[in-house]
């Protein structure tokens, strides 16, 4: 799908820090957390520092009294991307947020209390916060985004679906601009999930797959002559169930794209990383200095990589491919371009 999205704002929260710059330059500080089913065996993980002063402005918001960390990541990244946008323009701005797991912390806390203490202890304060679009609603309300709002879910490629939806809204003139974000939060239970999938490795764990969290987003509009960075193609729908199907989908994904375009490598530290290496070995890679590994946070990771890839565009590198490797449904791809 050819799309026409000019990127006019960016924001990020990651274990490397608050803001877009730390994504490329700052090593995240690893923490250590145990899976719930193995409390005596900690794994390295990458966490966002919620004590960062940037979050203080959100912690006093009445609407955010009961939210989990993901909503703070989301509104902070969103506000960065909206910097300088007037309230009048915000009122005509749509919001689309991609999630993979949603509010894991509260979902576990809510259902965990049912399992351990019975249904009568279920918390009416927690349940609404477990709903996928609650953080979207909070963000839209606090930031004054009166346009339409969608929560789009899936694996990493939900980020691509969200960008496509933004493109459709802009073409339909439903909104003037769209803020598109990906957001995820860490809870120890994800270690149980990753362990069961054999993504975590006991030998040399710090060089393996690291669970992570955060958010990132871009503010987009239809491009004009003054715009510098664009997303010009969004492809998805290459589905797979098995690793064999995944290999075929990856070959097809890259095979359909311009072979001369350099490819940004996101280098996941699991079987997808190996597949990416094999599929892209005959292509030139985006010539960027090695950047810190930020761990895996699904839609947030897809958004981080998009910001990094946008930053790599130069007059000498005016176009590049950014594959989006979904971990359990499909693969997608974005084509990025600079016109200056």
């Amino acid at each position: 799908m050819k799309i026409d999205l000019a990127v006019i704002g960016q924001g990020a929260v990651s274990p490397a820090g608050v803001g877009v710059e730390p994504l490329r330059h700052r090593e995240p500080f690893p923490a250590s957390v145990s899976a719930i089913s193995q409390p005596d065996q900690p794994w390295p993980v990458l966490r966002v520092d919620l004590k960062n002063p940037a979050f203080a402005r959100w912690q006093n918001e009445p609407r955010l009294r009961r939210v989990s960390s993901m909503t703070f990541f989301l509104v902070e990244a969103a506000e960065q991307a909206l910097a300088g946008v007037s309230s009048a323009v915000r009122a005509e701005t749509g919001l689309i947020v991609a999630f993979s797991a949603g509010c894991t912390t509260y979902s576990l806390r809510f259902f965990g209390s049912i399992v351990t203490q019975g249904q009568k202890t279920a918390s009416p304060a927690l349940f609404p916060e477990t709903v996928f679009n609650s953080p979207v609603s909070h963000a839209a309300s606090i930031l004054g985004l009166n346009g339409a709002a969608y929560a789009v879910i899936g694996d990493e490629t939900a980020w691509v679906a969200a960008l496509k939806a933004a493109s459709v809204w802009l073409q339909r003139e439903r909104v003037r601009q769209v803020l598109v974000l990906g957001a995820e939060e860490f809870d120890p239970i994800v270690l149980d999930a990753y362990r069961s999938a054999r993504w975590l490795r006991r030998n040399n764990p710090s060089n393996g797959f690291l669970a992570s969290e955060g958010a990132a987003g871009i503010l987009v509009r239809r491009s004009g002559p003054e715009d510098v960075r664009m997303i010009t193609t969004a492809r998805d729908g290459l589905i797979y169930r098995t690793k064999k199907e995944a290999a075929a989908a990856a070959e097809r994904l890259l095979g359909e794209s311009d072979p001369a375009l350099p490819c940004y490598r996101s280098a996941q530290r699991n079987w997808i990383g190996s597949l990416e290496k094999k599929t892209t070995e005959n292509r030139s890679s985006v010539p960027i200095k090695e950047q810190p590994y930020l761990g895996e946070a699904f839609t947030a990771s897809a958004a981080w990589h998009t910001l990094r890839a946008l930053a790599a565009l130069t007059p000498q590198l005016p176009r590049l491919l950014l594959p989006v490797w979904g971990l359990n449904h499909q693969f997608g791809l974005l084509e990025l371009e600079t016109r200056k």
């Binding site: 049912i114 609603s137 909070h138 709002a149 929560a151 809204w169 729908g237």
Partner: protein, 407 residues
């Protein structure tokens, strides 16, 4: 809509039947599907009943594959198959004739029952079978189940806008077609009853221990349900090229967010009025031209009063000849699937003139009482229908279907 968009097929699995036709007949007959809930233990809940669906057989799939499916997939696959079949898009092997078929779909909980089992095992420190459970609870797995069972791939978007998701998914499909990104889209929603969601609504005291009575002064809460419903949308030209008969046109879609409260609509219904105005404006019709509204009508104390007030404002004090009912009294509130299954009921009302009755009325809300559909109502001259949904987080959406587009 800039390109003419038609509905060429639909299918549903609901608590009233294993396909759309059976469900519709039971709905028009005034049946409901309320029954004690036995999918999981509800001992600690206030409410113990729901509208659960019988799972249709899946003769094309091996037993082992069926055992691996989430309940949500067991609902979604037959509903999607029925939609493709009625649109003439299935080959002799029961596979989609379109190998690339965009899929715009809604859910709120996906395969949550697998996630619940995963949590139970983890908390019990039982590390067996964790991967099979965690890998299958995510919503994209049910989407993949449908895609692989019916043999198609392509762009998919899973919209999780709470109870308005189904309407949003259909509206998004229409948007994809309108801007020329697709000629044909399979769209709809699925939702299976799960303990987390049931207990969630129960602890909010949003579920009723009485009958579900939408738009009644004595309403006490909603009836939870489950369903899957899909429809095939395509351009008129695409339908004509392949010889498909249009069932109706999708002519309007409006959606917005109500910031008033996470779980309550703005008291004056401003957001709902806005989406209805957007949808009618897009359809180029006046409110009075809408013959039937499938209302959101959850039967919660807050929702129905606001919704009735919004209709009053939208229609200018009285709905006039427009008829209104909420089918949630019959099939329950299917959350992410609600917008899709209710859109299908609205379409069938448009096509047949038979209007779904408003069940369980004792003392109707006065502002809307004259508009509520009674038993066995028939209106053969309806030209336009609307389906309306509201959800947690302030999601509001309205869809308009028409016999033919307005000039």
């Amino acid at each position: 809509m800039s390109r003419s968009i038609v509905v060429t097929g639909f299918g549903a699995v609901t608590p009233l039947g294993e396909n759309f036709s059976v469900s519709w007949k039971a709905l028009i007959a005034g049946n409901d599907a309320v029954a004690p809930l036995n999918l999981f233990d509800t001992t600690g809940c206030r409410c113990h009943h729901a509208a659960s669906a019988s799972l249709p057989p899946l003769p094309d799939l091996p037993a082992k594959a069926i055992r691996r499916l989430a309940r949500a997939s067991r609902l979604a696959i037959p509903a999607a198959r029925e939609a493709l079949a009625s649109a003439g898009l299935l080959d002799a092997e029961g596979r989609s004739t379109l190998r690339e078929l965009p899929f715009s779909v809604a859910t709120t909980a996906g395969g949550m029952a697998f996630g619940e089992d995963f949590v139970r095992r983890v908390l019990a420190r039982d590390r067996s079978h964790l991967f099979s459970e965690v890998s299958r609870y995510l919503s994209q797995q049910q989407v993949l189940d449908v895609q692989q069972a019916l043999g198609f791939a392509g762009h998919s978007a899973i919209i999780a806008n709470a109870c308005a998701s189904g309407a949003n998914a259909i509206g998004h499909a229409a948007d994809l077609i309108a801007v020329g990104e697709a000629d044909c889209v399979l769209t709809g929603g699925f939702e299976a009853l799960t303990e987390l969601v049931f207990v969630g609504f129960d602890c909010l005291q949003a579920t009723s221990t009485d009958r579900c009575r939408p738009f009644d002064l004595n309403r006490t809460g909603l009836l939870l349900g489950e369903a899957a419903a899909f429809l095939v949308l395509e351009t008129s030209e695409h339908a004509q090229r392949r010889g498909a008969t249009p069932l109706c046109h999708l002519t309007g879609y409006g959606h917005t967010t109500d910031f008033f409260h996470l779980t309550q609509p703005q008291p004056d219904g401003a957001a709902l009025i806005e989406v209805m105005r957007t949808a009618t404006s897009q359809a180029r019709i006046a409110p009075a031209q809408i013959g039937y509204i499938n209302a959101h009508g959850t039967a919660t104390p807050v929702n129905d009063g606001v919704e009735a007030k919004a209709y009053g404002t939208f229609f200018g004090d009285a709905p006039g000849s427009t008829r209104v009912s909420s089918t949630k009294a019959a099939i329950g509130h299917a959350l992410g699937a609600a917008g899709a299954v209710e859109a299908l009921f609205a379409i069938e009302a448009l096509r047949t003139g038979h209007l779904p009755p408003q069940l369980n009325l004792q003392t109707p809300i006065p502002e809307i009482a004259p508009a509520l559909v009674g038993g066995k109502e028939f209106s053969g001259d309806i030209q336009h229908v609307m389906s309306v949904n509201l959800g947690f987080g302030g999601s509001n959406a309205a869809l308009i279907f028409s016999r033919r587009p307005s000039p």
